[in-house]
Symmetry: C2
Subunit: 213 residues, 2 copies
């Protein structure tokens, strides 16, 4: 498998293929043609064939792809044929929602530690997790084998949360706080910002109304 310079958009499509293939597998479908898979994934057929070419030639001529086989290849390619231990920093509303989020766990992203700096929250148990003081993140991260950090703090504490994660040697961070943060070049950072999706929607709705008028 060649993994050099793979565009982010390709990875995002692969993540969608996983979702669709899981649904197909769960509904008992064993084989699917690339055209039908393209329809299910809302991607054009030439695009899906190009994406799947990353795994070499393995579709069966006249049949398509074996769902289970393809799913396993995509999962392996993406690095999600294993579990990833996550530490969550910031046990507010969103943090609590993530701690109770079944889908993340089902995909192998297991939150193994919940951290917060609020003394009134420390010791509280949320979804089976006893909230730990963020200052203890560094000493606890290794024992918990944390590889990914999730930041769900208020915006003004996001950088401090990132610093704690970085000091603990964590190399992958997803920041849910709507605030740009700075990390060293060896730390992979991604943002989940709801507002940005809503802004995209607002833009398109506005444009449509303007076009109509």
């Amino acid at each position: 498998v060649k993994t050099d310079h793979i565009p982010k958009a390709t990875i995002q499509r692969m993540a969608i293929y996983v979702q669709i293939l899981e649904n197909l597998l769960n509904s008992g479908q064993k084989v699917i043609s690339s055209d039908k898979l393209a329809v299910e994934c809302e991607v054009n057929p030439s695009q899906i064939r190009k994406d799947l070419a990353y795994f070499g030639e393995f579709g069966v001529r006249g049949v398509g792809y074996y769902v289970k086989d393809l799913l396993e290849r995509v999962q392996h390619f993406l690095g999600i044929d294993r579990t990833w231990n996550c530490a969550l920093v910031g046990v507010g509303n969103l943090g609590r929602a993530l701690l109770r989020h079944r889908q993340l766990r089902a995909r192998g992203f297991v939150i193994v530690g919940a951290f917060d700096c609020d003394p009134f929250k420390i010791g509280e148990v949320v979804a089976g997790h006893e909230i730990i003081c963020t200052r203890r993140l560094k000493e606890r991260a290794k024992g918990l084998q944390v590889e990914i950090g999730l930041i769900t703090t208020p915006t003004d504490r996001a950088q401090r949360a990132a610093n704690h994660l970085i000091e603990a040697g964590i190399k992958g961070i997803v920041n849910f706080a709507p605030k740009r943060i700075h990390v060293p070049s060896d730390v992979w950072l991604d943002y989940v910002d709801f507002s940005n999706h809503l802004i995209g929607l607002a833009f398109n709705l506005t444009r449509r109304q303007t076009t109509k008028a």
Copy 2:
């Protein structure tokens, strides 16, 4: 302002410019050069100049951009110089987190109605919202002047939630449930899927470990 065929990536960068410009404005900065703005936004200077060219030539030579003026132009371009009324369907953990999310409201996305089909939840008050039966969405949407729907149901109820929103005449939907849904071509649909961001992270962390080994 030309608004034809603007790539999604451009809109997402524009959303980041808004975030950064707001921070600059709040910190009292009045003027910024495009180079400095590029650094703040973690975008290369030629890219940012290209993006801002959508608004015509209005930077001041040798000075840069007036922060407030630029912010207002970007907000107007994106259609976020106004409020957008949203209906939320699915008052679980994530729904509750969104109902209490200050940032969404600060950006003009105001949740005006919270809907759920669970009879034990109907009538409960969450963050000032009395939960309404989802079957009443259509009759309530017009009075509430809802333009955007947010789906935060379990995956198996996402399509039904979408159907209720569509029947209510809502033309913009953000689906937070990790499930592909189908909408008519005149409805703008976007997904917020945390797993996809984590999958992207897992991919990059795996690739890095493989490269090192």
